[in-house]
């Protein structure tokens, strides 16, 4: 703190009470300057985009810190350094996102065609074929998972918010937390271990995949529904009770309609969470080349598993398999990403239309 309090007793001229301030655009100018210098240095040493980026960041952070320390004092200097680091962290996080989207788009788009969506892989060697069977499989497996998870998850949330008192509710809350952390591959093993009991070793079927996905989906549904039900003001419930409405009708007619927008959003996001899951389906759904619409009979291809196997075992020539893998990855990513805005639209549609909001 010595720098803050000027000492008037010294013989030297007292330091200024306020430090100078750098002009507003200094950080930008320093950034441009370090970019120019790093491009110059790297074109001398050998052109490398990553090298330029790293050097630019390093130069920028050193330059702005030193300049600011000199003009504005050490505290401002540290502040400028942290600001640059924080901006840098965000820029760094954008790199993989941009690179991922670019890689998937550039490698996946050429393989997309009408046939890719309408054909299966039955009898296909080399080029051609499509993912119709995988899309159908994904929709069926995820659909059944939703049919299992949504009622259980929603009713459990209602239990926790509206009825839950005492030890049982505490245990359910705790175990939902535990379920949230179950790794997806463990959920897959669980579904396998469960179905082996009924169908014998080596069982592969779509329904087992749905059970595995439900284990992952139920805690998400419970958590989000619980949050939404808690947001419903108690006055609404009390007003309903005061009118003599029984508790269950209050829940069905007052509480749920008030919370339905948030619940629908949570459910959509929980579907987005499981629809891209690969590991459990790899274990219990397996892979087949033809269309299978029977959830309880035999292997069923899903989009993520198809993507994985198209890359891991591409066949001959391998390029055809790789191309299919990227196109399927593009379709899968698009589906998952599209579910996020869909969730927003759903929440908008279901939002209770009360005047004055």
């Amino acid at each position: 703190m010595a720098t803050l309090t000027p000492t008037p007793h010294t013989t030297q001229p007292s330091p200024p009470l306020t430090h100078g301030v750098l002009p507003r655009r200094t950080p930008e100018l320093v950034l441009v300057g370090s970019a120019v210098v790093s491009v110059a240095v790297m074109s001398f040493l050998g052109f490398n985009l990553y090298g330029i980026g790293a050097l630019m960041f390093l130069l920028d952070i050193i330059a702005i810190t030193l300049i600011s320390r000199r003009v504005e004092g050490p505290r401002r200097g540290t502040d400028r350094m942290v600001t640059t680091l924080v901006y840098g962290a965000f820029a760094l996080a954008m790199l993989p996102l941009i690179s991922l989207v670019w890689t998937v788009l550039s490698k996946g788009l050429p393989g997309l065609s009408m046939a890719f969506f309408t054909e299966t892989m039955r009898g296909v060697i080399g080029e051609g074929g499509g993912i119709a069977h995988a899309i159908v499989g994904t929709l069926l497996v995820t659909g059944l998972a939703a049919v299992i998870s949504i009622p259980i998850g929603l009713m459990a949330a209602i239990y926790l918010v509206e009825y839950g008192r005492g030890r049982l509710a505490k245990w359910v809350t705790f175990l939902v937390d535990v379920m949230t952390g179950i790794p997806s591959i463990v959920a897959g093993l669980f579904a396998y271990a469960l179905f082996v009991v009924f169908y014998g070793p080596g069982v592969r079927m779509g329904a087992a995949g749905s059970v595995a996905l439900s284990v992952l989906m139920i805690p998400v549904v419970v958590r989000s529904s619980e949050e939404m039900l808690k947001l419903v003001p108690n006055e609404l419930r009390e007003a309903s009770y005061a009118l003599g409405v029984p508790r269950w009708r209050t829940i069905v007619k007052v509480v749920l309609p008030t919370a339905v927008a948030g619940i629908a959003t949570g459910v959509t996001l929980s579907i987005a969470r499981v629809i891209g899951e690969t590991a459990p389906l790899l274990l219990v759904c397996g892979l087949t080349t033809s269309m299978n619409t029977d959830l309880f009979n035999g292997r069923m291809t899903t989009l993520p598993v198809f993507t994985y196997y198209s890359y891991a075992t591409p066949g001959f020539p391998p390029e055809a398999g790789y191309d299919r893998a990227w196109s399927a990855a593009l379709v899968l990513t698009t589906i998952v990403m599209a579910l996020n805005p869909v969730a927003r639209v759903i929440s908008f549609i279901f939002a209770p239309k009360t005047p004055g909001r």
């Binding site: 996080a93 591959i185 669980f190 139920i218 003599g244």
Partner: protein
């Protein structure tokens, strides 16, 4: 807490039996949904133990690779932990930076949109991360690994020989770090935003710079939240399967070397790679490793919850 409407009112008095029956049924249904969740978890534990038991009792020459169960598990556990810890070491500072950027640095109007962009990373399926890791990232990192082995090879971590494909445990750590960034950022961001405005304004009023304000007001308040975010991220990284299965080039046992092509596999990736071709006792062994993974992630997640619970007690927010 008796919120039951009394039957003194006329409307309710007309149908008391129907009312109580409907209530009983509805309460029963919702309660059984809660019980079902208990049953599912009990089932997970039970079926796991049933299916894993043959592996425990089997003699060592029946286990794949002819080792004892312990020797089979140790490299896998080591690989799992090293990959996850690498991911955590990379992701923690970056996610703190992003969270601070969104909560305290970015212009207010942009902040929400930027948060949404980071959340997009969470929407990308793990198999796509795997493809990206093996095709793009591994190829880009190969020259860097060669450089590391050549110049800082005296550090055991970079001893080399460097992998020619880039499919190393360090690449896996980076891919996992990207995958756990969104969840860690989201939690840190929420907690940074919850810092009482009064603390922040008090710090600024005393003449603190923005960084000093963050160091004195925001970070102490968010400390346990940051720890729990890191633990949850670690839990995710431990259980991540497909990215590791695709990217990692497996071979050899426990080794400190991060950039060679001989890496111990992780539990999850090993299951995904071996399970489809396994039968008989091999399946039981894999299920046993799954049980080990379950226990590890459970311990990590419970620690995270413990930190969150402790914070809720002390924060005074409730």
């Amino acid at each position: 807490m008796t919120q039951e409407p009394t039957s003194a009112t006329t409307g309710a008095a007309l149908r008391p039996t129907r009312k109580s029956r409907g209530d009983a049924i509805f309460a029963g249904i919702s309660k059984s949904a809660g019980v079902l969740i208990l049953a599912v978890l009990a089932g997970v534990a039970l079926f796991f133990i049933i299916e894993a038991w043959p592996a425990v009792t089997a003699s060592s020459d029946e286990i794949p690779e002819g080792k004892s169960l312990l020797d089979y598990c140790i490299p896998l556990v080591y690989g799992t932990i090293i990959a996850a810890v690498l991911a955590l070491l990379i992701a923690t500072p970056v996610s703190l930076g992003i969270a601070l950027f969104i909560s305290h640095y970015a212009p207010k109007r942009l902040a929400q949109g930027l948060g949404y962009i980071v959340d997009l990373l969470a929407a990308i399926p793990s198999v796509v991360y795997g493809l990206w890791g093996i095709v793009f990232l591994a190829a880009q990192l190969t020259p860097a690994y060669g450089w590391l082995a050549e110049h800082v090879g005296f550090i055991p971590l970079f001893a080399g020989p460097a992998s020619a494909t880039g499919r190393t445990v360090l690449t896996v750590g980076i891919v996992l770090a990207v995958m756990i960034l969104p969840i860690m950022t989201a939690i840190c961001r929420e907690i940074f935003l919850q810092t009482p405005k009064l603390y922040e304004e008090a710090a600024l009023a005393l003449g603190a710079t923005r960084w000093e304000m963050i160091r004195m007001a925001v970070l102490p308040y968010a400390k346990s939240g940051i720890i729990s975010a890191a633990m949850l991220g670690l839990g995710r990284a431990l259980g991540e399967t497909m990215a590791v299965a695709l990217v990692l080039s497996v071979g050899g046992g426990v080794s400190l070397n991060l950039i060679s092509s001989e890496n111990p596999s992780t539990i999850a990736a090993n299951i995904a790679l071996q399970f489809p071709e396994s039968s008989g006792l091999e399946v039981n062994v894999l299920i046993f490793t799954g049980l080990v993974l379950f226990v590890i992630t459970l311990a990590v997640n419970l620690t995270a919850r413990w930190f969150i619970a402790r914070r809720a007690e002390f924060s005074g927010a409730n």
